[in-house]
Every structure is written in C-alpha cells, then in structure tokens.
Amino acid sequence: MTAAETSVEGAPVAQRALVRGGSWRQVLGRSLRRNPTIVIGGGLLLLLVLSAVLAPVLAPANPTQAGFSTRVRPPSILGTSSGFVLGSDNLGRDILSRVLYGGQLSLSLAAASVVLSGIIGVAAGLVSGYVGGRVDDAIMRIVDVQLAFPVILLAIAVVAVIGTSTTALIGVLALSGWVIYARTVRANVLSVKEQEYVGAARALGAGDVRIVLLHVLPNTMAPIIVVATVQLATMLLLESGLSFLGLGIQPPTPSWGRMLAEGRDYLSNAWWISTVPGIAISLAVLGANLLGDGLRDVLDPNLRGM
C-alpha cells in the first residue's frame, strides 16, 4: 500500500481516488474497479432500458397479437419446438415481445415517478431544512403522517377513488416517494447551511433563493442521487405490485406486473407466463439496488443502512 493511500484511509472512495490524482478517466476507472456493484447494477439496468427502448426492433412478434392455436406454448429455449423463445401466454401472445414492450411501461412509469417525487421531496426538504422553525415542524409532521400509512394501502385507496390513468398512477407513486427525499435533503441542508461558504455567500449579499439554489442544493446532490437510485427500485416494485392487484395500467398494454398477474391462474400447466416477467422485474430492481449501493459507497458512505 502506498503512503498516499494509507493517509486517506477511511475517506470516501471518490475522494481517495481524487487524492491519488490522474485524469478523470483514470479516476473514474479506479472508482468503478473498486465498486463492481456500480458496474454490475448499472450494466443490468442499462441493458433492460436498452431492450425496452429497442423493443420495436428486437421483439419477434406483435405484443398484443393473440392467437387461439398458439396458446400456452412452452419456451423454445428449453428445447421445445414451440416457435416462441420464452413461450406464449394464455391468449397465445409472444411472451418475449410482451416482456420487451412491458419494460417500456414499467421502467418509464418508475422513472417518471422517481423524478416527480424527487422534485417535490427535494423542494420540501430544502425549505424545511433552510427555513426551519414552524415551517420545518409543519413539513416534518406531514412526513410523519405519510409514513404512518403503509404505502401500498394508501396507493390502492387513492387509485381506487381517482381511477387508473397513467397520470394518476405516476401521481400516486410520486406521492408515496417524496418523504424519503424530504427527510434526507433536510438532514443534509441542516449541516450544509452551517458551512462557511454559505456564510460567505450571505456576507457578499446573496439572497436566500440564490444561496439555496447555488450553494446548498449542489452540495446535497450526492445523497439525492443515491436516494433516487434506490427509489427507482422501490417504484418498480410498487408499480408492479399495483398492476398485480389489478390497479395498474389497464389491458391490453403489457406491463410486467400485469403479465405476472395474468399468469397466476396457469401456474400448474404454464409456469413460464408468470416466471418470465417476474425475472424481468427482479433483474431491474436488483440492478437499481446494486447501483444505489455502489453509488452510496462512493458518494456518501453516511447513508449506509438506508
């Protein structure tokens, strides 16, 4: 071990890498080598996103094309000659094509709700932490109330009342996700706002809005990125859970959760109908979780255990 390495032992990996210097490529390469989880998780996620985006090119068949004569065919990768790589479902539709197209819906719903809940949560956290006092108290009590409800229960109650449109679904998912951003950002703002550079900016005559947007927010980005990645996993699970209960996007548009639910009744004779979309969801969630873990180790080790 070199002297430079020992002296910065315990510092976040990114900082250690910076201390050792080199071009940004070397720094990045070193960080990634030390954190294979980022590469594995990110790669997995990228692969799934690409296959969803390229579904029109990759899919061997029309995902909603039913066929009576081709119902419940087993996957041909298992050595059968069914003509369907991952089998066909109870309506004779090609499961591979449906999984590819289903990814478009599941992944974009999850991503949209991560962004929306992020915007709401970060704003709430910034205001709560920076303004403090009664405003902080009020926002934190709202957070407490939100946390008291099991997310899925609140989500199904709201979806049941306002219906299952794409907008409603994203709204419900975002509603359940903003609290974690708000709490994390608030905690970070509390420490950042005591920093000298914030005092310096104020001494130079900067207004509150300028201080928050130019000095506080950029310095809380690391935890926000980590939370967003982990939330992507949570949103994927929640969306597929709602679809599974029949409260997701309505047929015939395929989504992973919906496909899984549809295959339930055919478990004993056609296990692949439920298994294939389940693997897709698990891989996406695993990818997001691994990426989040890796990013957390690099960017903000204090968030461990979140």
Binding site: S268, G278, G305
Partner: protein
C-alpha cells in the same frame, strides 16, 4: 426524560390527527358519492338526496369532519356495504389472521435477519459474508408477490409439501410468512452487518480485546449492544413494511386477513371498511414507533437529555 416522553406522545397525537384528516380527505373530498354507491342504479334523485342528508353529506365539510371525528372516537365506523355488518366488527374478525402472519414474519426477521447480519460482520470477507450479501440483495429485489407465486409453484404445485392457500393450521402459515419476511429480513440483515462492522472497528472493541475478553463476550456484549440502535429503529419501521406487504401477500395466498379485506373492499368501494383499515394500520404504526422511540432512552441514555 419526562419532557422527552411528553413531546413524543404529543407528536404521536398530532400525527394521528393528521391521519384522520387524510382518511377523511380520501373518502369525502375526492370524487365518488357514497350515497350513489349504496343505492341501486335506478334510484331516483330524491332518494339519493335523502340518503345524502341522512349521511350528513350536505353539511359543510368542517361540520362533516367533526362528525367523522366524533364517530371515530366513539368507535362507530358505520356499516360495511358488502357485509351488511358494522365495519368495525368486519375488520375485527380479520385482525387475528393478519396478526398471526405479521408475528410469524417479524419473528423470522428478528431471529434470522439479525444473527445473519452479526455472523456476516464477524466473518467479514469470507464466503459466509459474501453469501449473505448475495441473499440479502436477492431478498430485497424479488417482488414479494412473485416470490409467493414461485414458492407456491415449488412447494405447493411441484413438490406438494405445503398448502398454498387458506388459513387452517400452522402448515398454512409457512409460505406466506416466508414471503412476507423476505424483504424485511434482507434489510435487517444488511443493516445489522454494516452497523456491526462499524462498531467492531471502534477503539473500545480493541480495548475489550486487548484486556483479554473472550471474542464471544466482545462481540455479544460490546459489539451487539452498541450496534443495536439503528437496528431497533429499522425493526420498528418494519411494522409498516409488514402491514403493507400483508396486503399483497394475503392476496397471493388467499389469507383471510386485513390486507386481503382491504383489497376486496377497495374493489367493492366499501368505504367504511377501507376507513377502518387505514386508520387502524396508521394507528398501529404510530403506537409501535412511539414505543420504539421510548425504548431508545433505555438503549442510549444520551437521547434523554437531547
């Protein structure tokens, strides 16, 4: 100490008040007219009007809210539309199965998750450690409804070892409990591991070792006790996760508990029942977390004075 307890109790009451506002909001302010839902489709406008008057739906919102609150305090939640019985007793009958399931899953979480985390930390960077990290990553990534379905497929359909639906004896509890426990067990194992790793690196552990204490005493007495605070926090939060998870798990295994009742009631638009379930779930969560917070003062005396 006294003021801390008082403040926490006050916060909990405030949160409960917030919960009542949210439930009232979901059921009254959002679209969907209970009077129309209770009457047959061919009911006349006058009948609808009459029922709305009976329900007090024509009063101003704040009057309705006060009436709502006072009926909750009296324990009167109205009649279930689908069962034609008091909503309170409909939910009451379903509490035991859910309690059974949640307790079994919570026991698995504590009895397997915590020791797995401790063992992984004391065997840091061994095959056991890597194995448990892998299993934990998996446990947090498999959607619980899919895990449930796969368990049914393996142990019910293929091997025929365990019953897969209903609630008639201990054997019926196994698959649902494992399904429900998978996520919190993984989370708790990971958190215990990282918390233990951090504590085992502290100076007082080195001191304990250097004065010749047995490794067992060092780990159990000095390590586990000091690593327990974040673990207890997370265990408290798992009550919410279990209640939420029960909604889906019970639907997968046709478990006659509150979770399945909630889903069924939402599809039936049985608002009085949904109302009881939402309030009950939130209240249980709030009370348990209050207890957890008060437990800290025992585990960490510093909190009493902050």
């Amino acid at each position: 100490m006294r003021s801390y307890v008082l403040r926490r109790v006050l916060h909990s009451l405030l949160t409960l008040f917030g919960v009542s506002l949210v439930v009232f909001g979901i059921l009254r302010v959002l679209p969907g007219d209970p009077a129309k839902m209770m009457l047959p489709d061919n009911a006349s406008a006058a009948q609808v009007e009459e029922l709305r008057r009976q329900f007090g739906l024509l009063e101003p919102l704040h009057v309705q809210y006060v009436a709502f609150l006072s009926s909750i305090v009296r324990g009167d939640f109205g009649q279930s539309f689908q069962f034609r019985a008091p909503a309170r007793s409909v939910v009451g009958e379903r509490i035991w199965p859910t309690l059974h399931l949640a307790l079994a899953a919570f026991s698995l979480t504590v009895l397997l998750g915590v020791p797995a985390g401790i063992l992984a930390a004391t065997r840091h960077r061994t095959m056991f450690d890597y194995g448990s990290i892998f299993l934990a990553a998996l446990g947090q990534s498999l959607p619980n409804f899919w895990l449930g379905i796969m368990l049914i497929l393996l142990f019910g359909v293929t091997l025929g070892w365990l019953p897969t639906s209903g609630y008639q004896g201990p054997a019926y509890l196994v698959l649902p409990a494992v399904t429900l426990a998978a996520y919190p067990m993984a989370l708790v194992a990971r958190l215990t591991r990282s918390s233990m790793l951090e504590v085992l690196g502290r100076e007082y552990i080195r001191t304990a070792r250097s004065k010749g204490l047995a490794e067992r005493t060092v780990v159990m007495l000095h390590g586990v006790k000091n690593a327990s605070i974040p673990v207890v926090t997370i265990l408290g939060l798992q009550i919410g996760v279990l209640l939420g998870g029960a909604v889906i798990t019970e639907s997968v295994f046709a478990w006659p508990g509150i979770g399945k009742l909630a889903v069924d009631s939402i599809f039936q638009r049985d608002f009085p029942v949904i109302q009881v379930v939402l309030i009950l779930a939130a209240a249980v969560f709030i009370v348990i977390n209050l207890i957890v917070d008060l437990l800290y003062t025992v585990l960490d005396p510093r909190i009493r004075y902050s």
